[in-house]
Symmetry: D2
């Protein structure tokens, strides 16, 4: 599946947004994927250099962001196409690209929710049912087995990733006490709102939002069953810290929580289990594809608090998309995603 020089040509659609630029940055250091074209989100903007949108990319990615169309995307020769586009744009582009044989990795919410009615209620549009069936949910720590060879990957949402990796383990293991729902309180940096969201000073402050209505609630529930989910904006630029409360099943003892996580996360390249007494922080995962997980059990009250930290733009979006793409095309899952990935990945093209 590799190109002539041992690389695989890829394209980014929606390259001007936060996640599109982060993808361009990550892919610049990827040993196999080579970015051959960048496209906008179809909003009619003129062609411009990506470095004029995101200064960090100057001299690193010297490509223009072109107007997006299925024809132009296919003409670029990309074998993998990342859609860092609004939900509706992803819904329109995915079908034709998949049909043309391209591997599509979608960062939007267009194909995340399996249930059509739930999707329509939260996103406001219907989807092609066959395409929904073809889509594989992109959260490798939970769905790795289904990602190899996928033609369309629907990457998990940012908050969803932080919540579902640990809570999915506990749900599967039967940790939740019957009749209770885990509580998921999570704080995100303001980049979670996207570059389009204009931020006035009042907005950059700790405050809740999406109260009782956030789109990530049904997605978390699809993964782990009923929860209460409450997102909050933090007064910083990037990163998510999730605080999750679980009422434990009567059969569970405190040590069972650690045992369940230990089994599930052994060998996971991007899950870091914190040592005793160390708690995850947004600073600790900044610019990385790691999810840091820790927990504490109050034995007397049969209550567990679980913490997870991710960089919302990396493990919560662009890094996870690359991780899914790596698996989909059959190369090292960590390629391009670890500081030490250079040497690790050296044998990839061999």
């Amino acid at each position: 599946m590799s190109g002539s020089s041992g690389t695989i040509p890829v394209a980014i659609v929606g390259a001007g947004g936060f996640t599109g630029c982060e993808l361009a940055w990550i892919l610049a250091g990827h040993p196999v994927f080579e970015t051959v074209a960048l496209f906008g989100s179809g909003g009619g903007d003129g062609v411009r250099a990506i470095a004029d949108v995101e200064p960090r990319l100057r001299g690193v990615v010297d490509l223009n962001i072109e107007a997006a169309s299925v024809g132009e995307i296919l003409a670029s020769g990309a074998r993998v196409v990342f859609l860092a586009t609004p939900h509706g744009v992803s819904a329109e582009l995915a079908g034709p690209l998949v049909n043309a044989g391209v591997t599509v990795v979608d960062l939007s919410g267009a194909f995340r929710l399996r249930d059509g009615a739930l999707h329509a209620a939260h996103y406001g549009f219907a989807r092609d049912a066959a395409l929904v069936d073809e889509a594989v949910y992109g959260l490798p720590e939970r769905t790795r087995g289904t990602l190899a060879g996928a033609s369309l990957v629907a990457c998990a949402g940012c908050y969803v990733t932080a919540a579902s990796i640990p809570l999915g383990v506990l749900a599967e293991a039967g940790a939740f006490r019957a009749g209770t729902r885990p509580i998921v309180d999570a704080v995100s940096g303001v980049s979670g709102a996207g570059r389009g969201a204009s931020m006035n000073l009042g907005a950059v402050s700790a405050r809740p939002y999406g109260v009782g209505s956030h789109r990530h609630a049904p997605e978390i529930e699809m993964n782990v069953g009923p929860v209460v989910f409450q997102p909050q904006l933090g007064a910083y630029d990037r990163g998510i810290l999730g605080t999750m409360h679980v009422e434990l099943s009567p059969e569970w003892e405190g040590a069972d929580v650690g045992a369940a996580f230990g089994r599930a996360f052994a060998g996971e390249p991007f899950v870091r289990v914190m040592p005793e007494g160390v708690w995850p922080s947004v600073a600790g995962v900044r610019g990385t594809n790691f999810i840091d997980v820790a927990w504490h059990v109050d034995e007397e009250r049969a209550h567990a608090v679980v913490f997870a930290a991710i960089d919302n733009l990396v493990k919560g979006a662009s890094g996870q998309a690359v991780q899914c793409a790596n698996i989909a095309v059959g190369i090292d899952e960590t390629a391009g995603l670890l500081p030490g990935g250079v040497r690790t990945a050296a044998g990839v093209g061999a």
Copy 2:
């Protein structure tokens, strides 16, 4: 009770800390209290101008911070003494000052917990039982009736204030479903750690702390019954945002929550109930003595999420201390604490 010129002389002990400096700032604009002396926390530091500690105070409070002793404090002529001191220092100073007839307003945790064993377990020292009996808990929205004429006020903790004002209302009204505990997740700016806490860059990041062990947990439980409390450090300087989850009693409908808050907060000068669809933020209360409260009920699940925002250094500490002192000495509760307090308070001395 007022001084010769219609003012009441006050002193601040522990004036060099964050809450001590905030007190000095607030009192500089108070129509009745006049700061006549500043003292340190007994750590042996030399005399220095408070403006050299907190530059904002230069030209506003031109007093030196003197070495603290009961004799010196009494010699200052202060009729009200604010103790912005470590728990142990407050425990030592409070008795002699109260016995000398001074009104003592303590911002520390020395006299908050009524239960001696619980106090000893969390603070590591025992207290004079008679003094504990004399102490009145300082959370005016819950304990106003007992504050008038108090000789020793134990002001509520910062997180405790954010949690207990709304949850106290619901607890009293019987809103909690039997067998459930409210969840209190709260984020605080780094000033909550005090000036003494050196902050390295890694520390200024969203991260949990005090997991399973924070001293404010038993204090919240003293006020509202059993809860799960989890504090978190936010990546900003000041302010607390509390997110609280309540499983509602079967008899409760959604509107009952609003009705309970409406009854409790009508006429409260420092509780601002947000209009429908507006959520509290840390920016909205910065530098004020307000607590902003909002809630959302998921009727189907009989679950309420309640939000409260305060400035941890004002309503969570120094502002609340002044509010308590105002009540204790019998002047307008809002004196010195509202932007418009100037005119409102005009009649105070009359």
Copy 3:
């Protein structure tokens, strides 16, 4: 000049912007001015509560922001009108309001530059010459004598204030070496760009702007003669720190700098000269009307570096406007502007 109850009714036009909201906040604590009406900037927005724009004002200023027109403004009964409006809007409103006998305090750049050609080049519109003649420049530390009884005050710009208060003293005293121009490098918090400016994350970063073209350059030069002025955006919300370099005249010794400042600033209520070895900071002036000034002379090189810090929304805008208004109507210059202003100002109405 006071109203029936000893207060003076005032109105704010452009109340929804950062400086308009800051004005509303300051005036809520003013002992004489009473805000009777708020108006928008004519942009066609509907009526809304100011607390919905700036949450800090909820419960403090319970007024709606109405559509602005000369008729409505005059109908409010305001005797002083603050124009926190775009330059062009101020230019249109000022004339009719002044002619109707109202005291107009303009925070925009509409009437700052005396020179018509320079104004037109920088602001893109012409002004009524008679009105320009009537306008008094509002920088009390430099123009106090002309402000009493003024009908139209053109408040100095934010950077201009930070630069002109210290450099004006040195210029007047002849400190600049012939043939040299002071360098003014200044950093401002992002609120300097106004609420209308949408801030994406990339924008909230230390970076220069207005290179070779900022409107405040000619205004500083109007006050102190030729300079080089370079503004910079800092990664914080409010405050300006100016760093100014002066090549000293051969007749000047180091001590002459301190002597000049000492003479000029003695008795100035809002200028704080830092003690030896203490340097101004943005944190030190936050939320205050102070300008903190310090300097260092390299005797060998006959070079002085001068620092000044202000809160751009207070001394750089709304606080200075109130200071000018106080002088214009003949009340205590510090009314409403000092933490301790409560007591100090008590005799004002007497």
Copy 4:
């Protein structure tokens, strides 16, 4: 010079500080250097995992920080030793390590200043003269030719790097008007103060420091001749933005500035010249080894303002150290320092 597996073993001394941790992070992705040992700064701290100091490194660099001694460092087998140590510690360690044949790359100020008296005045200790002679100044854009094969590299200071790369070009080309000194105003994130510096809230604010006395002043002057240098702390974590003012020589026209920079920076892998109308920002270089440079000439006044932005922990410290080490040992100068360095560097070991 490479190790058995084609890699070169390296060690970091002072690994627990900001620059030491940044080195560990960069080296984790380096295609040739392999970190084999970490050491402290000799302060007597016990052995601890570097991930316990810098959470970002967990799972990336799984090494303990050991007590430093010449013997232990040599026993590690490292062929290149990075000294991210206090000045005095570097001065003690460098000699024995150099004598043992190790390539020493020093990030401290111990060997930067050639002049012994100047060094002693600013750093307070004397150095071995032979070692000073052996030291090569590490600022590749200015001293590349002397770095190949160096046994001891004295990496340039952070502010010095931001100032000397552009001003060095202009100084060499004779751009400065006789009798004038360039002004260098520069803002640094608080990480510039090191991890050891405890930061209270007041400290994290825009404010000048090192007035008239900063150690980087003589170092900049060593590189470009007499300047005025004034550093300032910005309210953010990392990055330096320099604003430099140059009075141009009468023979110089505006275009000459661009021509000089164009000649000097053509082919420089880490210097990015901004396009017309684009200005450097701290966000644009965050986490990179780039220096972004731009300028504006006021022809009429023969004045140029020059801007430069770097990440103080990368191009200003650890990235530059790796760049110097790459040159010193004869591998690709960009190895490990570019996002796309993976593929570029692939041929290095061949």
